[in-house]
Amino acid sequence: MGAAAAVAAFTVVPRHVLGGPRQIPPSEKVNIAGVGVGGQGGGDINNVSSQNIVALCDVDWNRAGGTFRRHPNARKYKDFRVMLDKEDKNIDAVVVATPDHVHAVASITAIKRGKHVYCEKPLTHSVYEARMVAEAAREHKVATQMGNQGQASEGTRLICENIWGGAIGHVREVHVWTDRPLRGLSDVYWPQGVGRPEDTPPVPDKLDWDLWLGPAPERPYHPAYVPFRWRGWWDFGTGALGDIGCHSIDPIWRALKLKAPLSVHAACTLVNNETYPVASRVTYQFGARGDMPPVKLHWYDGGMRPPRPDELDDGQTFGDNGTLFVGDKGKMLGYRIIPESRRKEFGNAPKVLERSPGHHQEWIDACKGGKPAGSNFDHAGPLAEAVLLGNVALRPSIKEKLTRVNLLWDSANMKITNVPEANQYLHRQYREGYSL
């Protein structure tokens, strides 16, 4: 233990003293390691493969096989702690695309070593983790980017420019929805609203179940969790809201210049302590910002959505995923102003925002001393916190309290002020061997 502290000190402090991460001139390549490379991580690694992929880490070498084969020169690991320790000198930056419950411990371990971090959405599994990760990144001056690639799109910019240009007047109400965890109405991406399986099938070859669990509480392996379907389980995933919220709330956050919500309320189908509910509606109240009035943000998932706006023409699609801004002077479905008459009358908003070189490129540029990426953790942290706060309201014991109150949120002190027992869901104890 004594030695461990010394080792940690030795590996972190010098960089900090030296002023953070290695300076990488634009002409050089960033040395990148991947943590969790079998699923979305494979895509992320592919998107940064203009750089040097020096090391890859996955707890399931079977699922990671494809990515391993595409990068035969990268050294392979199962435990990100071992990789970061052994490859410390060789790694400039880390791409984290593990299940949600491992994001924070992997990211913060890297950040404390002065590594730049690209982390999949949602930034973390809990509100507290999101706060800690964002603070650490700021302190260690590393370049960061969350994996909500839509932030780099033209659509996100058009939404901002339309609203800032006055296309729909003041916005007091926004609705945002996804069909997830459903896929359409007759299939699912992953199950929610189910209980814990009782059988204990053997752990597959090539999967290190203990490392997969990471900081989460111990439980026996089951294919109900891995791969991908961990999203529906409280201990590992963050439900439909966590999966999609950081994508679809991001443009709202930017356009309406949102800061932490004042309160949150939720309604959902029967929910248990194992999995997220089948369908939910989560409502956030935000205060006034500058000359923008208070706004209510309604999130819907599992097939729920707001009413079709009368301003849509017959036959126009009101899809299974979308965002509806309700302003004093009109509405916007995504960046499309409705009704059509208002869209024509308004025309195009002035182009005031810079366009992106690409979501992953933004991060690479930032790693090389360029400007911060669009979803750097100073932006992504508060966004992820709000998303994850919605999940606190869906917890079975908290949902019951919501018949009488909204959860009032004191963001500065990271505290739900009127339902104290809800604060236990802002963070959790880690298993031994894991810490922030």
Binding site: T269, L270, A279, P307, R404
Partner: protein
């Protein structure tokens, strides 16, 4: 082909027709005319003076029917019918003098002295039972929803009007003080013009969002499965359907909306004088051809009525509900069990409580302009004895139930509506969805051979 027995009894005698279905289809119009007209010509059902007791029969008595029979216990309970001996055993026992039947058709045929019947079967059998009774000139109390399909509801409503029988739907809340207060607040202008109403119910009891079972356990000795199925398409017996859990299965029940919508919409319909909506849309947590969804939201657009502006009515079930209104002070209950929220230009009302509390206190009670009810079942008994029509007689309950069931039409369109987020445009008088004709298959349910309205 299965034989059909249609019967018509009057005080003066009886005609009985035994015809094959093939013949029947051709002769249907003539027969229908023949079976209804005589009663009508003779002035409809037997006149029962207020001093006398009605002779009442119950059909479907094991569950909710038992409660209904208890509520009309001041009258003579002369006959009882149920297809499930075990489920109905206790109720059979508590009426030792009532004749017992499995088949309502046999009961109505044999028991000449019945004045009125109480129908509390599963939804899919309401219409065939109620219709046979109506055509025989019996008064009918029928549990909600009035029937399983919009088409059935329309036919029942018309038949009851024609036969001149006293009717009442089992939405007992219609008789309550609360329903009158809602109406009186709105008449008094407490909310100003109402443009939006939200109604929700979290009734989690019946299984939904599941597929048909594949195993085929044996039918219990105590159950007549064929009669339980009645007009519904044949399928093998399974305990997942009964008792009670049929509600979630499209072939038998009508989901939470059908179960509860007629209760919760009645105060909205009355106070806002609603008729048919112009359109309906729905979303849900996933819907299949077997069962209703676990959770759903159904939205209706109603046109302007008698000086009232167009109004949007939103239904939520499965735990979904609207966001907590800002006017509701922290600590006051905004429960997910069930409630209605009215939003007017001048205020909001939760159930029959004005929001915020301060406005409720300041306003007090609206002027009492509506007559109060002697009780929901009593209304029907009075109507059977020549009194005024009951509060939820089929002329009122029919259109209400049609609107409720129209929500299920939208839900059952599932993906087709969901992906593009379309509305169904509805022509109420003609019972037709005008923009997506494939939806019209859900307006009327197919009957098994041997069953007809």
């Amino acid at each position: 082909m299965r034989d059909i027995v249609m019967a018509n009894q009057k005080d003066t005698g009886k005609q009985k027709f035994k015809i094959s279905r093939r013949d029947f289809m051709g002769a249907a119009t003539a027969v229908a005319a023949y079976t209804i007209v005589p009663s009508h010509v003779l002035g409809g059902p037997r006149r029962v003076p207020p001093s006398e007791k009605l002779n009442i029969a119950g059909v479907g008595i094991g569950g909710r029917g038992a409660g209904d029979l208890h509520e009309v216990g001041s009258e003579n309970i002369v006959a009882l019918c149920d297809v499930d001996d075990r489920y109905a055993a206790k109720v059979f026992k508590s009426y030792p003098n009532a004749k017992k039947y499995h088949d309502f058709r046999v009961m109505l045929d044999k028991e000449k002295n019945i004045d009125g019947i109480v129908v509390a079967t599963p939804d899919h059998a309401h219409a065939v039972v109620a219709m046979m009774a109506i055509k025989m000139g019996k008064h009918v109390y029928c549990e909600k929803p009035l029937a399983h399909s919009i088409y059935e509801v329309r036919k029942l409503t018309e038949a009851a009007r024609e036969a001149g029988v006293a009717t009442q739907l089992g939405n007992q809340g219609q008789a309550s003080e609360g329903t009158r207060l809602v109406d009186e607040f709105i008449r008094d202008g407490a909310l100003g013009p109402v443009r939006e109403v939200h109604s929700w119910c979290n009734r989690p009891i019946s299984p939904r969002g599941i597929d048909r079972p594949k195993d085929t356990p044996p039918v219990p000795d105590t159950l007549n499965w064929d009669l339980w199925l009645g007009p519904a398409p044949y399928r093998p017996y399974h305990p997942c359907y009964l008792p009670f859990s049929w509600r979630g299965w499209w072939d038998f029940g009508t989901g939470v909306l059908g179960d509860i919508g007629c209760h919760q919409f009645v105060s909205i319909f009355r106070a806002l004088k609603l008729g048919y909506p112009t359109s309906v849309e729905a979303c849900s947590s996933g819907v299949n051809s077997e069962t209703a969804p676990l959770a759903s939201i159904v939205r209706y657009d109603f046109p302007a009525r008698e000086g009232m502006p167009p109004v949007k009515l939103t239904w939520y079930d499965g735990g979904l509900m609207p966001a907590r209104p800002q006017e509701l002070k922290e600590g006051l209950r905004f429960g997910n069990a069930d409630d209605n929220l009215f939003i007017g230009d001048k205020g909001k009302m939760l159930g029959h409580r004005l929001l915020p509390e301060s406005r409720s206190k300041e306003y007090g009670r609206p002027p009492r302009v509506l007559p109060r009810s002697p009780g929901h079942h009593k209304e029907w008994i009075n109507a059977c004895k020549g009194g005024e029509p009951a509060g939820s007689n089929f002329d009122l309950a029919g259109p209400l139930t049609e609107v409720v069931l129209l929500g299920n039409v939208a839900l059952r369109m599932g993906r087709q509506l969901y992906e593009k987020g379309l509305k169904l445009y509805y022509d109420g008088p003609n019972m037709k969805v005008t923009n997506l004709p494939e939806a019209n298959k859900y307006i009327r349910s197919e009957y098994r051979d041997g069953w007809t309205l």
